[in-house]
Structure formats: structure tokens, C-alpha cells
């Protein structure tokens, strides 16, 4: 029985669930991590999860469109990374901290 499981084709849903799990982990990282950079990385994780979904669906439809979308997402992620890290740098320069909870001068 385990053998059969291992050799048979993998249901598409599994990929999607993996994608959902990774997305969820990204969310978890965002809301539980305190270092801004880690938080940012969590977003990257979420984007990766989305990419997995795209590619999976692409397989389902046997189209390359999904791949192209992932490609665009990567570009966007890269651009975001550049800007995001620049923002983080300025924050650090001004506050000398990377703790996200410290960045809360404006509230209510």
C-alpha cells in the first residue's frame, strides 16, 4: 500500500495544499516574526507559494501561461526586494533597530 502511494501519480490537490501550507507559513512568519527582514522574507515565501499554485494550475491546463505568471511574479518580487530592502535600510539608519514592534510611533 505505501508502495502504491509512492509510485502512483501525485494528485494535483497535494501541490495546492502544499502551496496553501507555505502561504500560511508565510503569513505566520509575517505576524509572528519581529525582525523586519524576516518579515519581508515571509512575504517572499508567500509569493513562492503562489508561484507553486500557478505552476500547478499551468500543469492542469497544460498551458505555459501559468509559468509566465510566475515569471512575472518573480520579477515583481525582485523589484520589491530592491525597494523594500532600501526602505528597511532607511528605517535602520534612522532608528538603529530592525525590530518591527519598535516602528510604531504613529498609532490610533
Amino acid at each position: 500500500m505505501p508502495n502504491a502511494v509512492l509510485t502512483s501519480p501525485v494528485p494535483l490537490g497535494w501541490y495546492l495544499i502544499l502551496s496553501a501550507i507555505l502561504f500560511g507559513l508565510g503569513v505566520a512568519g509575517f505576524i509572528f516574526r519581529r525582525n523586519i527582514i524576516t518579515v519581508f522574507m515571509s512575504i517572499e515565501l508567500m509569493l513562492n507559494a503562489v508561484n507553486l499554485s500557478f505552476v500547478t494550475f499551468s500543469y492542469q491546463f497544460k498551458q505555459v501561461d501559468g509559468h509566465i505568471y510566475s515569471f512575472f511574479v518573480m520579477v515583481v518580487a525582485a523589484a520589491e526586494a530592491a525597494v523594500g530592502l532600501a526602505i528597511i535600510l532607511t528605517v535602520f539608519k534612522n532608528r538603529s533597530t530592525l525590530m518591527i514592534d519598535d516602528v510604531n510611533s504613529m498609532k490610533y
Binding site: 503569513v27 505576524i31 509572528f32 514592534d101 516602528v103 510604531n104 510611533s105 504613529m106 498609532k107 490610533y108
Partner: protein
């Protein structure tokens, strides 16, 4: 016949004096004030002569006042015999009092104002008398109330005077409350306010054995009448109204305005006679007022107060008269009362004038020597009010009492008792003021001819007025003449004489007896002396609760507390909600992210359920 000229002349006098009075000499004011009333009087005479016997009502239509839907109220004046009497009394006595006032008011501030108001009063009083529908009557009714207010509070710098003015107006308003309600019901019932139409319609209605619409209407009219004519329970304003200058008391609060209630009931006789319950009420109220006012009158020390309570008492007689169905007797008494009570007040004014404002009868005495004309004219008036046979009071009062006897004997006996008391206190005042030795500190002197002249004329009228003018006979066409009963009339006259005798004993023959007698009565005397504490009771039971309730419960509690509290509370609550909602905005990025997650979970759940996911 240009009836409109009758009231308009005094109105013009009012306008002229009111607008120009401050800049013109007194002579001008006098001319205008007296002239306008005199002209009015002459016009009345001319009109009445022109109309002759006035077998039917003479009506003049001027213009539509209010026209709304089917409701049509016009400005119409009418003259019938009842009106004729009233017109003569009002303008006649009015003229005399105007003349008197010239002397009396000579040194007062606001001279022009006084005459302007007096003229205005004449205008409204004449409108009241001439009105051919209830609303126009109401105009006059309220208008005279206004003038009463203005004149009672004539001494505007004095708190007591203005308060008395307010009291007069407000108590009258309470009465008018009833009157106005009656008007609404009349329109509802008859579709019109015109006397002719209303009475024509009412004639066809049956006499109401139990409370019906006519009873309600008449009771409400009665409320109005009690206010204006100072009957129980609304008489309280009249004694206070003596705060005004004495000519005012004479004209408004004795001769004319206060009798408007009687006039109105007599005018509405057609409806009243259909409502026996009301009639009884009128009679009982009149009797009670007469009696209680007389008791109070016996104890008062202020000359004008004595006469004031006597007025209330006499008005009670008139009510008794109309209440027992003797309308013409009531009107007769209105007329004679105008003579003798006007005279009493004018005389009191003359005394006051001579004593530089002193009114306490304990501070008088022996004035006969200093002011003989005043003394003897007042004596005539006192005789008349006491119902000494031959004087005017004898005729009218006895006509009432006789009618009362025919209606219910007990009313007669109470009335007779009251008549005795009346004679007692009137002569008590006279004796205390004019006989004996002078007890005061002023320099008494007789008044000028301007003042004594009217006194003399009125004294003559008071003596012969009843004999000369047989009102019931004149009004026969309108009201059935009362029964005649010589015996009962003589009994009451005898009781009157007894009263005079007692007064003589108490205050001339054996002075000091009165005090000991009063002491022996103790609490009762105090009660009566303080007018049964009615003012105080009203104050405690109505005025103060109303004020305090309005202040603490309605204003501070309801308005500022509850409603505004709720409004402001809503404001505060909004801010409170805002304060809670902005807590969401903790400034913490992770918390914000968590909100985003929360939102997405909720949205997904919603979609899931909406999509039928099980």
C-alpha cells in the same frame, strides 16, 4: 347708523394720546381723552334716539375678519336693548370717570399714558358690548383684560402693582381658556359664531336634563365669566387689582369690565336657559362668591380692599341673578352697581387724594369735617349698596333676591344674610372713615370740582338710578321679567338696615367692641382677615409646583438632563465608539497584518457558506 364710530372714537383718542402724549400739554390730553369718550357717549345717545325702541336687533356688517373653509367670522356690530343699556352705562359712567381722573391724576407721572390706556379700555369695552359674534366679543373681552393689566400695573416702578397686573391678566387668561374652548365647541356645534345664527339654532334644541353639549358650552363660558367677573374660584385677582389708580378701580374693576361676565351670560341667555345644570352652577357660584367675599370684606382695613371685596360680592349677586334666570335683574344690578360702586371707588379715591395716599381706615376718622362732599356722596353710595329702600341698590338687589326666592328659598336667605353683611361692612368703613376724630397724620382736604362733580352726579344716580331706570321692564322683550314679592323685598331691606345699625353700634356707639369681638372669634377672624389664605393656597398648590416642576423636572431634568443628555450622550458615545475603534490602530505592523488575516478568514468563510460549501 355708523355704530363703528362708538368704539373708534376712544381708539383715536388712544392713538393720539399714546403717540403724541409725551410732547403735548395736558390740556390737549384732557381734551382728547375726555372729548373722545364724551363724543362716543353722545354718539350712543344719538344712535339710540335714532333707533328708537329697538324692537329688533340692529346689525351693521363691516368686513369679513376670518374666512376659512366654511368658517366665516365677520366684524359686525349690533345694538339691541341689552346693548343699549350697556352702552349707556359704559360711555356714561366712563365719561364721568374720565373727568374725575383729570383731577385725580393731576400730579402723576405718565399722565398721557394713563388716559391713553383708559381710552383704549373704552374702545375694547365698547367692542365687547357691540359685538355681534362670540369671537368679536372675545376681542373685547381680551382687550379689556389687557387694559386692566396695563392700568393695574400703571405704577410700573412698584413691584406690587406690576405683580397685581400680571395676576389680573393671567387669572383672566385662565378664564379665557374656558371661554375660548366654548367658542370652539360653539363652532363645532353650530358652525358659526354669529349670535343670531347660534341662538336661532339653539332655540330649536331641547332643554338638557343631563350634561349635554350645551351644558358643556355654557359651563365653559361660565369659566370665562368667573375669570372676568372675579367669581370663585378666579376672584383672586380683583382685590389685588386695587393697586391701580383709583379711577381705574372705579371704571374697570367696578363699573364696567368686571360686569362683562354677567353681560356675556345674559347675552347667551338662550343657550344658558337650555342648560339648567349650568344655571344652577352659576347661581351657586354667585351666591358663594357673594357670601365669602362679604365675610372677607367685613375684616379688611384697607378702604379700597373693602370696596373690592364688596365688588366681588356684588358681582356674586349678579351671577345669582342670572343664575336663577333673572337676567334682567342681573343687568339691572350691573347698571346700579356701576353707579354706586363707581361712586364708592371714586369717593375712596377722593379720600386717598385728600390724605396723600392713605387708605387704612384705622388712620382716618372724622373726615366728614374735612371733605363733606366726599363724605355725603359716599354715604349715598353706601345706602344704595346696602339696599336701603328707594335707593338704586334696593331695586336691583331685591329683584335678584326675589327671583332667587322663587328659584330656591335657601339661596334667598343666604343672599339676605349677605346683604346684611354688606350693609355692615360698607357702613363700618364709612363710620370709621368719616365719623369720630381724625386719627391720621396727613392734612385732609376736599378735592377740586373736577373730582367732586362726578361724585355728585353719581350720587344722584345711585340714589335714583333704580327708580328712574326700570331695566327689567325695558328688557321685557328679551328676558322674562322676574317675579315680584314685596314681602321678601322688605325683609331683605330690613336686614340691610340691621347691618347698618350694627355697624353704627360697633364703630360709633361702642368703639372697641369690634376688636374684642374679633378677638373672641380668634382663628376664624384670622382666617377671614387673611382672605381664607386662598392666595397662599393657590401659590402653594399651583404656582410654586408649576415653577419648581418646570425648573427642576422639565428644564433641568427633562430638557437639559434627559433629552440633551441623550443627545450629548450620543455624541459622547460616538466618541467612545471612536475611541474603541481607533484602538485597532495600534501602530503595530504585525497586528495590522493579523487584521488582514482576520478579514480574509471572514471573507473566505462567507464565500464558503454562500457557495454552499458544507
Amino acid at each position: 347708523m355708523n355704530l363703528w364710530l362708538i368704539p373708534i372714537l376712544p381708539l383715536l383718542g388712544f392713538l393720539a394720546n399714546g403717540l403724541l402724549g409725551r410732547r403735548v400739554p395736558k390740556a390737549f390730553i384732557n381734551t382728547v381723552a375726555i372729548g373722545s369718550v364724551l363724543l362716543s357717549f353722545l354718539w350712543v345717545v344719538k344712535t339710540l334716539l335714532g333707533l328708537g325702541a329697538i324692537e329688533t336687533k340692529y346689525i351693521e356688517h363691516y368686513y369679513t375678519w376670518i374666512q376659512s373653509g366654511m368658517l366665516n367670522i365677520s366684524v359686525d356690530f349690533a345694538v339691541d336693548r341689552l346693548t343699549a343699556i350697556m352702552l349707556l352705562v359704559v360711555t356714561g359712567v366712563g365719561t364721568l370717570i374720565h373727568i374725575y381722573a383729570v383731577g385725580y391724576m393731576e400730579h402723576e407721572e405718565g399722565y398721557y399714558r394713563f388716559f391713553a390706556f383708559l381710552n383704549l379700555f373704552m374702545f375694547f369695552m365698547l367692542v365687547l358690548v357691540l359685538a355681534q359674534n362670540y369671537l368679536l366679543l372675545f376681542v373685547g373681552w381680551e382687550g379689556v383684560g389687557l387694559c386692566s393689566y396695563l392700568l393695574v400695573g400703571f405704577y410700573i416702578a412698584e413691584q406690587y402693582a406690576t405683580t397685581a397686573g400680571n395676576k389680573a391678566m393671567i387669572v383672566n387668561r385662565i378664564g379665557d381658556f374656558g371661554f375660548s374652548l366654548a367658542i370652539f365647541l360653539i363652532v363645532k356645534q353650530f358652525g358659526s359664531l354669529d349670535f343670531t345664527k347660534v341662538f336661532d339654532a339653539a332655540k330649536g334644541m331641547p332643554v338638557e336634563a343631563s350634561i349635554g353639549i350645551l351644558t358643556i358650552i355654557t359651563l365653559l363660558l361660565l369659566v370665562g365669566a368667573t375669570g372676568k367677573s372675579a367669581q370663585i374660584p378666579l376672584y383672586v385677582w380683583l382685590p389685588d387689582a386695587m393697586a391701580g389708580p383709583t379711577p381705574v378701580s372705579a371704571l374697570i374693576h367696578a363699573a364696567t369690565m368686571v360686569t362683562a361676565g354677567v353681560y356675556m351670560i345674559a347675552r347667551s341667555a338662550t343657550i344658558f336657559t337650555k342648560a339648567p345644570i349650568t344655571m344652577d352652577t352659576v347661581a351657586v357660584i354667585g351666591l358663594a362668591t357673594a357670601f365669602f367675599a362679604a365675610t372677607i370684606g367685613m375684616t379688611q382695613m384697607d378702604l379700597k380692599k373693602v370696596y373690592a371685596y364688596s365688588t366681588v360680592s356684588q358681582l356674586g349677586y349678579m351671577f345669582l341673578g342670572v343664575g336663577v334666570g333673572a337676567f334682567s335683574a342681573g343687568i339691572w344690578h350691573v347698571m346700579t352697581h356701576a353707579f354706586f360702586k363707581g361712586l364708592l371707588f371714586l369717593g375712596a379715591g377722593a379720600v386717598m387724594h385728600g390724605l396723600h395716599g392713605e387708605l387704612d381706615i384705622r388712620q382716618m376718622g372724622g373726615l366728614r369735617k374735612y371733605m363733606p362732599i366726599t363724605a355725603w356722596t359716599l354715604f349715598c353710595a353706601s345706602l344704595a349698596i346696602s339696599g336701603v329702600p328707594g335707593t338704586s341698590g334696593y331695586f336691583s338687589k331685591d329683584a335678584i333676591l326675589v327671583a332667587a326666592y322663587a328659584h330656591a328659598p335657601w339661596m334667598y336667605w343666604v343672599g339676605v344674610l349677605t346683604a346684611g353683611m354688606t350693609a355692615f361692612y360698607v357702613f363700618r368703613a364709612w363710620f370709621m372713615a368719616f365719623t369720630g376724630e381724625y386719627r391720621g397724620h396727613a392734612h385732609p382736604h376736599e378735592s377740586s370740582l373736577v373730582m367732586t362733580g362726578p361724585l355728585i352726579i353719581l350720587a344722584i344716580l345711585a340714589l335714583v338710578g333704580g327708580f328712574a331706570f326700570k331695566v327689567p321692564h325695558y328688557l321685557e322683550g328679551m328676558f322674562t321679567e322676574g317675579p315680584e314679592n314685596e314681602v321678601m323685598a322688605l325683609v331683605s331691606a330690613a336686614v340691610g338696615l340691621l347691618g347698618i345699625f350694627l355697624a353704627y353700634v360697633f364703630y360709633v356707639a361702642k368703639p372697641g367692641l369690634a376688636d374684642s369681638f374679633a378677638k373672641s372669634l380668634g382663628g376664624l377672624y384670622t382666617l377671614v382677615y387673611n382672605k381664607y389664605f386662598v392666595d397662599e393656597a393657590y401659590d402653594a398648590a399651583v404656582v410654586q409646583p408649576l415653577l419648581e416642576g418646570s425648573r427642576t423636572v422639565l428644564w433641568r431634568g427633562m430638557d437639559a438632563g434627559l433629552i440633551d443628555g441623550m443627545v450629548n450622550g450620543a455624541g459622547h458615545r460616538s466618541r467612545g465608539i471612536g475611541a474603541i475603534l481607533r484602538r485597532i490602530q495600534s501602530g503595530n505592523i504585525r497586528s495590522y497584518a493579523a487584521w488582514v488575516v482576520l478579514g480574509s478568514v471572514v471573507v473566505l468563510l462567507a464565500i464558503g457558506f454562500a457557495g454552499g460549501l458544507r
